[in-house]
């Protein structure tokens, strides 16, 4: 931590290796609203992928691209709404705005990643904010997943308009969501922690007619 960037900006590992009980943003929701297990009738299935590492990366694309490529091994999505994943599909970078990207990595990698990026970026003007505790990832899968989304988001989720490799920030019912399509079958919703219960209740309600199930 001798880099100048690190001195002027205080990084902080908010995660600990100690065996400490953690609660994902949906923990309360499971208790409050229950979590119907998927059945043969379920045309859509929801599952939370909790405790991932979420970083917001701000800066000019030209500034960031090299560092991201060097550190993460994937290139910054060049086009708006782009979503790029590594070969394993475990690490992703999503275009959020011309100078903002969302990086999601396996939980525990985020602090090291932040430090490596900071080191690689040196004195350049950029910002990295760790938001891992503030959001969670909810997956939707199944043939009715798109219909559930059509009930919920104003964005056009038709495959011709929302191919794999796309991600957008948009309106979800009365909150906002980052919606991504990492593969043909799977949709990802990045949800803010404090709105997670609302989103969960909404999905249960909107998915009711498709006998939505929750994988835990």
């Amino acid at each position: 931590m001798s880099n100048t960037a690190v001195e002027t900006v205080r990084t902080f590992d908010t995660r600990t290796e100690a065996k400490i009980p953690v609660e994902s943003p949906l923990t309360y929701s499971y208790r409050r609203s229950g979590a119907p297990a998927p059945t043969a009738k379920s045309r859509v299935v929801m599952r939370e992928r909790a405790f991932l590492g979420h970083l917001v990366l701000c800066g000019g694309a030209v500034v960031l691209d090299g560092a991201v490529r060097a550190v993460l091994g994937i290139s910054l999505p060049g086009e708006p709404q782009g979503l790029v994943q590594d070969d394993e599909g475990k690490r992703s970078i999503q275009w959020v705005s011309p100078d903002e990207w969302l990086v999601i990595v396996p939980g525990g990698e985020e602090f090291e990643l932040e430090n490596r990026l900071r080191a690689a970026l040196g004195d350049a003007h950029f910002a990295i904010s760790n938001v891992s505790g503030g959001q969670t990832l909810v997956e939707l899968e199944g043939e009715a997943a798109r219909e559930v989304l059509m009930k919920s988001v104003v964005y056009d989720v038709h495959p011709s308009h929302f191919p794999v490799g796309k991600g957008v920030t948009t309106i979800f019912a009365k909150t906002t969501v980052v919606l991504r399509r990492p593969s043909e079958e799977r949709w990802e919703l990045v949800v803010r922690r404090s709105f997670a219960d609302y989103t969960y209740r909404w999905l249960l309600d909107a998915g009711e007619e498709y006998a939505i199930g929750v994988e835990r």
Partner: protein, 1017 residues
């Protein structure tokens, strides 16, 4: 009267109903039979039910007049249970289902024998348009009594009185081409567009698609038209890029091709939605469609003729007769007289005769009718009276005869004597009005076409009308027009396709129609029997004439004065006739009188469908902190702040009795002042600010100085808008030279973030700084009170908590309960306090660990109410409670937080020197001490100097915050008072609603520990 099961008007064969499925239904308490495929209207007609309702103003008996959305009379109340009631359902659009239960919306004691009808008959003459404006004025005190009586007579159906058991939802749709209407034009358009590969949605309001082709006499490729419909619908439904939405009405066209479609998913099955495969289904669904291109294939509505007593049951639209005969196998009478201005309406007579019943005569207003259909009628031996029209219907509860006379259309008079022909049905047609509703929803004014005798739409970019909707009526031409519109739409949306092969339709030679709206009567309009223009609102030709005589010359005035077009049918049948009458009376042309524009909705839409899922607990999000479960388990009462559910107070059970809020808050307050309390402060907004210019930026948006705040230190800041008024406050910590963590008020988080962004992006992009919300990432808990350090020492590692190394307004990193934490020594209570930030996923563990260790120190959870009391004792403000957008930092007595000598003219600074902002005697923040310590002043109480002053009493200010302080053993308050800072020690008065006048002394707003020693230990 007809017997149940009789279906006396049902034909032995024909129609598209399923005769194998008999359905039983109840109307006005009587049970009848119908068939699957019937509408309620067709089933009622089949059973010979003449009177379905009573009219709004005159209580006249009314029957079914039309067969679709334009029906003005047949409005019924649907539903069995109280919660399942649906008011004002048009019988013509309601599919019949087994067990359907309906009643008339008006009529007392019933529609057959209606006492109000007597009033209408006797009193009708005294109720000209504007009747209400001209009477009930004396004495003034009586109006509220009169109004009660008037209101009782008003209204149609009734609202259910219990909550809706059904659910509704929305579907956000996007397509390249939206086709509204699945008649010949719509189907052709859809097929043409769909073949190009474009994403197509087809919405049609009826139970099945096909529109006029479903009752057409014409052959398409030498086959019945309905066969082409079936094939086309089948083809469309097999295409992946096509969404077919039957029972779906396009109700509103909004800007940029946003269209609302109301899909009724279960209303044809039952009054409340039945389960499907054991799962609830939505009763109706609103599709919010963003379309690349829109094709309006909405067809045309037939116009009735306006003649005497044209409202008596048995009067109908000519086209409706054909629809009932051909589509439902129902002949709505035995002896028909037809009164027409055009050829197309002759279909009614042909269909009637073919159904085996008697056509008495056709009165044709044209001197020499000679079209193909006319010849067919002649060939069938139907008597045609040329140059004539029905001038008056006879009959009371049902038409008994028609008076037919020769009419001089130019001179608007009857020529010669009238002939009275016995009949039970009079059908009329005065031509057709293109359905231009959607096209005019965004303000496009239609154009009158003298040849078509109708308004044709002027559409905006991206929208095209096709077929009847733009006055193209011949079936072959309609198909071609639709196909072309569909192809154009797809092409404009970026697709290409070959043109469509269309079915062959024999061309029919129709004679020219003649303009006829109101039929002249032997008597002048004001003396003639009532000639109804708007049946639902009981607007007559005489009413329109009186309105114009009184100076209501614009059609908008006429409509408003007479209420024409303000019914649930929005004048679909009456508006053009009304305009024509106004035009005639004023000696102008129809377009000179005005145009007719429509507003959404095309037909009424259930509130529930518009609301969708956004009701009940999903009406608005509730935001929870990571400790919410704990709060719930502890029985906290919650206060909502900007969608966050915050614990308000934690009532305990003491001796089996739950504490009141007052008791709980007193206990919580003392715990903090004497021992230690804990607050969930996670809801405060937190913004991560990084960049070399972060410090400069803070100096511009805060009123105070930031240039020298060192890493490891925290500072309070005040934010103003550029009008100098305070809008938020909070602490900001320097994490690194280029790195700050800003906190905002709970409700202000989003606003402040956007505030920072707008200044950065639009004014100071040269400043290198980024802002990110980290509100949800961190959970925040405040440990405060004299014992706070002891408790912290037990659970904290890697931090030196010694008062000299971890001072007030310092922050440090370490671990709390084994979890990495940032700890801030800031205090909103005036006590020793630590604000702990940990990653939210660990928060509950940290919280519970604190309690595991806190018991011996008397650790007490407290809520927002206690927080408010404690901060008010210290004179700390809550932005939005103690400020209201009209308070400057100086008004708050916060001169110390204003950096007047900062080099940059920070936001709000300039405005502070405006005459009104800098004047003395502004309302200033002070403390108020009630003379009686047991008094807790009301928040919002007004402050006066002379409580005996007459009303209006000059007010000096008001109480912004007020509480009982168990520490001070007294009520106390914060207030704003004119010139308050100079009025310390003065007495003011607070006159209350109940007549009491409280006395209070103006004091410093800092009630406790003015030197700040308690927080600094």
């Amino acid at each position: 009267m007809s017997q149940p099961n009789a279906q006396e008007n049902r034909l032995a064969q024909g129609g598209r109903i399923d005769r194998s499925r008999r359905l039983s239904f109840t109307f006005n308490g009587k049970t009848y039979q119908g068939h699957a495929g019937d509408t309620l209207a067709s089933a009622l007609l089949a059973n010979g039910v003449d009177i379905v309702n009573r009219s709004f103003k005159y209580s006249r008996p009314r029957g079914i007049f039309a067969a679709g959305a334009e029906e003005p009379n047949a409005l019924v109340q649907l539903g069995v249970s109280e919660a399942g009631q649906v008011p004002n359902v048009r019988a013509t659009q309601q599919a019949l289902y087994d067990g359907l239960t309906a009643r008339s919306t008006n009529g007392w004691p019933n529609v057959q024998r209606d006492l109000m009808g007597l009033v209408g008959k006797l009193g009708g003459g005294f109720m000209p348009p504007g009747f209400y404006y001209k009477t009930f004025m004396a004495p003034a005190s009586m109006w509220m009594t009169y109004e009660k009586v008037i209101r009782k007579g008003a209204g149609l159906g009734r609202s259910p009185l219990e909550s809706d058991p059904d659910i509704y939802d929305h579907m956000h749709q996007h397509c390249d081409v939206l086709v509204v209407g699945a008649g010949p034009a719509g189907l052709a358009a859809a097929l043409a567009a769909a073949r190009s590969g474009a994403r197509v949605i087809v919405a049609d309001e009826q139970e099945e698609m096909g529109g006029t082709l479903l009752d057409s006499r014409e052959l398409l490729d030498d086959k019945p038209a309905e066969q082409w419909v079936a094939e086309t619908v089948e083809a469309l439904s097999n295409m992946d890029n096509v969404t077919l939405l039957p029972r779906t009405t396009a109700n509103g066209y909004h800007d940029h091709n946003f269209v609302t479609l109301h899909e009724r998913r279960t209303e044809h099955l039952a009054d409340t939605a039945p389960l499907k495969d054991g799962l609830r289904q939505v009763r109706s669904r609103l599709h919010r469609v963003r379309a690349g291109r829109v094709v309006l294939a909405t067809g045309a509505h037939e116009r009735p003729l306006v003649y005497g007593n044209n409202d008596v049951p048995g009067n109908m639209l000519a086209g409706a007769v054909s629809t009932y005969v051909r589509r439902y196998g129902v002949v709505p009478g035995n002896k028909l007289v037809l009164s027409v201005s055009n050829d197309h309406a002759y279909r009614a007579a042909l269909d009637w005769v073919e159904a085996g019943r008697d056509v008495v005569a056709i009165a044709d207003a044209r001197a020499n009718p000679d079209g193909e259909l006319v010849e067919q009628a002649r060939a069938k031996g139907i008597r045609i009276i040329a140059g004539a029209a029905v001038v008056e219907a006879k009959g009371d509860a049902r038409v008994s005869a028609a008076r037919i006379a020769k009419v001089d259309l130019q001179g608007f008079r009857v020529v010669g004597g009238a002939e009275t022909l016995s009949c039970d049905t009079i059908a009329s047609s005065g031509g057709y009005s293109p359905v231009i509703h959607l096209a005019s929803h965004t303000g496009s004014r239609p154009t009158w076409n003298e040849e078509l005798l109708g308004f044709v739409p002027n559409t905006v970019k991206g929208v095209a009308a096709a077929g009847g909707a733009r006055g193209v009526y011949a079936t072959g031409a309609v198909l071609a027009d639709g196909a072309e519109a569909g192809l154009d739409a797809a092409t404009e949306a970026g697709f290409s396709a070959a043109s469509l092969g269309l079915p062959r339709v024999a061309e029919r030679s129709d004679g020219a129609a003649v303009a006829l709206y109101q039929v002249p009567h032997e008597k002048a309009t004001l003396r003639a029997p009532k000639q109804f223009v708007d049946l639902q609102n009981d607007v007559t030709a005489a009413g329109i004439e009186v309105a114009t005589r009184e100076g209501f010359e614009s059609i908008e005035h006429v409509k408003r004065y007479t209420a024409m077009g303000f019914g649930t049918d929005q004048g679909k049948l009456g508006n053009i006739n009304g305009m024509a009458i106004a035009a005639r009376v004023l000696g102008r042309s129809i377009p000179e009188v005005g145009t007719t524009v429509f507003r959404p909705n095309y037909t009424p839409v259930t509130f529930g469908a518009i609301v969708g899922r956004h009701c009940g607990e999903l009406f608005d999000p509730e935001r929870y902190t990571a400790m919410h479960q704990w709060h719930v388990e502890q029985g906290a009462a919650f206060e909502e702040v900007g969608q966050w559910m915050r614990p308000w107070y934690f009532p305990r059970k003491v001796n089996g009795k739950t504490e009141t809020m007052h008791e709980a808050v007193a206990r919580e307050c003392l715990a903090v002042r004497e021992k230690v309390g804990i607050l969930d402060a996670s809801t405060l907004g937190k913004i991560d600010i990084q960049g070399p210019d972060a410090r400069e930026f803070l100096g511009r948006v805060y009123t105070n100085k930031w240039a020298k705040l060192a890493p490891g230190r925290v500072r309070y800041g005040l934010m103003c808008k550029d009008d100098g008024m305070v809008f938020d406050d909070g602490t900001t910590s320097c994490l690194g030279d280029n790195h700050f963590l800003m906190t905002t008020s709970t409700g202000g988080a989003a606003t402040v973030l956007e505030w920072l962004e707008i200044w950065h992006q639009t004014e100071w992009p040269e400043l290198d700084v980024y802002f990110n919300s980290v509100t949800d990432h961190w959970a925040t808990m405040t440990i405060t009170g004299p014992e706070a350090r002891k408790l912290m020492e037990e659970v904290t590692t890697e931090v030196d908590l010694d008062k000299d190394s971890f001072k007030f307004m310092d922050w440090k990193e370490g671990k709390v309960a084994g979890v990495p934490a940032r700890i801030f020594r800031i205090s909103f209570t005036g006590e020793l306090a630590y604000e702990i930030n940990v990653q939210a996923n660990y928060a509950l563990h940290v919280w519970e660990t604190l309690f595991a260790h806190g018991d011996k120190y008397g650790l007490t959870p407290y809520g927002t109410e206690t927080m408010h009391v404690l901060r008010a004792e210290k004179g700390f403000i809550i932005a939005g409670q103690d400020t209201d957008g009209s308070v400057t930092p100086e008004d708050l007595g916060m001169h110390w937080a204003i950096g007047y000598d900062k080099p940059f003219s920070w936001i709000g600074k300039r405005a502070l020197t405006r005459p009104d902002t800098s004047r003395e005697n502004r309302k200033q923040m002070v403390g108020l001490k009630p003379k009686d310590p047991t008094v807790v002043l009301e928040e919002g109480a007004q402050i006066v100097l002379d409580p005996n002053h007459s009303i209006p009493m000059p007010m000096e200010g008001h109480v912004t915050s007020s509480y009982y302080s168990p520490t001070l053993a007294s009520g106390f308050a914060l207030a704003v008072v004119k010139g308050g800072h100079q009025k310390m020690g003065e007495t003011v008065y607070l006159p209350m609603v109940d007549g009491q006048v409280h006395e209070a002394e103006i004091v410093s707003p800092i009630f406790l520990d003015p030197k700040g020693e308690r927080q600094n230990v």
